[in-house]
Amino acid sequence: MSFINYMAREINCKIVYYGPGLCGKTTNLQYIYERTSPDAKGKMISLATETERTLFFDFLPLSLGEIRGFKTRFHLYTVPGQVFYDASRKLILKGVDGVIFVADSQIERFEANQESVENLRTNLAEQGYSLEKVPYVVQYNKRDLPNVLPIEELREALNPMNVPDYEACARTGPGVFDTLKAVSKLVLTELKKGA
């Protein structure tokens, strides 16, 4: 649920990075954090275990610039990917304005991706949202690794609705900002429609 503040002349939106454990959600945020100028970002918060697995969420506030005199602020969140953290994932989806599904392109993670998309669909539905309606994009991450599935196969399995999708390597950056821009555009377009 975006928040329009007429007083501060700000619009705040919430974007959630979803996907199976270790697909690279936290790495996406870290890359964005590193490559954004200090005045456009806040502190990045990671609620992680001692082994750096996301325990609850990562959070990164970003300012994208102004539209018609309103500052656009995006709050980026990641969910913990491991199956047993489902309760936390549901909480983080509350009030979401846009979702990025990060897929792990490696062959051995094929099923994990499929389960995670299903889980996203279920958890959104529980909040009264649907994957068909919420601004949604897909990222095929880890394209730099040798053991990856061809894009066509991933697309067929994970993106039947044909939403905007991007190949990425979150560790070094290609595709990271393209994905974020794509979802941000969809969110703002949605806002325009709802206005």
């Binding site: 649920m1 329009i4 018609r68 806002l191 206005a195």
Partner: protein
């Protein structure tokens, strides 16, 4: 849409700001702030220059969401109050009207009893303000600045 759009107007913002400013004084608090349940900061008062209110807002909302989840598992209603005591700073968190979160940070210049008392009064006032804000938002015909934005405006945001 499930959630009505959260909107803040100047009139209500000023009323809310008055309440938090007064709460800082009357509760002898260091900082008071209000966050919506999604972690967005609505208003703040007190020694806010020394703290990262954006981070605090998101973490407080996460905290409330997590305890709300626990409450649900225990078939409880939401735990509406939380208190954390530190060596120097204490934090009192109050859910107001199941909609927004009122946070008071205080030190030894105040006490939990005083904070509780003042928070109760402020909560009632805030509840009334948010009720009226909500009914305003649901009125039809409120013109949004975003009805007018073009695809070009959106594209321009990303041209850097």
């Amino acid at each position: 849409m499930v959630n009505p759009q959260m909107v803040m107007y100047e009139e209500e913002f000023n009323q809310i700001q008055l309440v938090v400013d007064r709460l800082v004084r009357e509760a002898n608090a260091k900082v008071v702030f209000i966050v919506d349940k999604n972690g967005q900061l609505i208003a703040a008062s007190g020694e806010v220059d020394n703290i990262d209110t954006t981070s605090l807002a998101s973490l407080t909302a996460g905290n409330i969401a997590a305890t709300g989840g626990i409450a649900k598992l225990l078939r409880e209603n939401e735990f509406s109050t939380q208190f954390h005591e530190g060596e120097n700073a204490n934090i009192h968190i109050q859910l107001v009207g199941n909609r927004v979160i009122l946070v008071v940070i205080f030190d030894s210049k105040s006490s939990l009893g005083l904070v509780r008392l003042r928070v109760r009064k402020a909560s009632d006032e805030l509840n009334r303000i948010f009720e009226s804000l909500l009914s305003k938002v649901q009125e039809p015909g409120g013109d949004s600045p975003f009805a007018e934005i073009t695809d070009e405006d959106i594209d321009n945001l990303f041209n850097d």
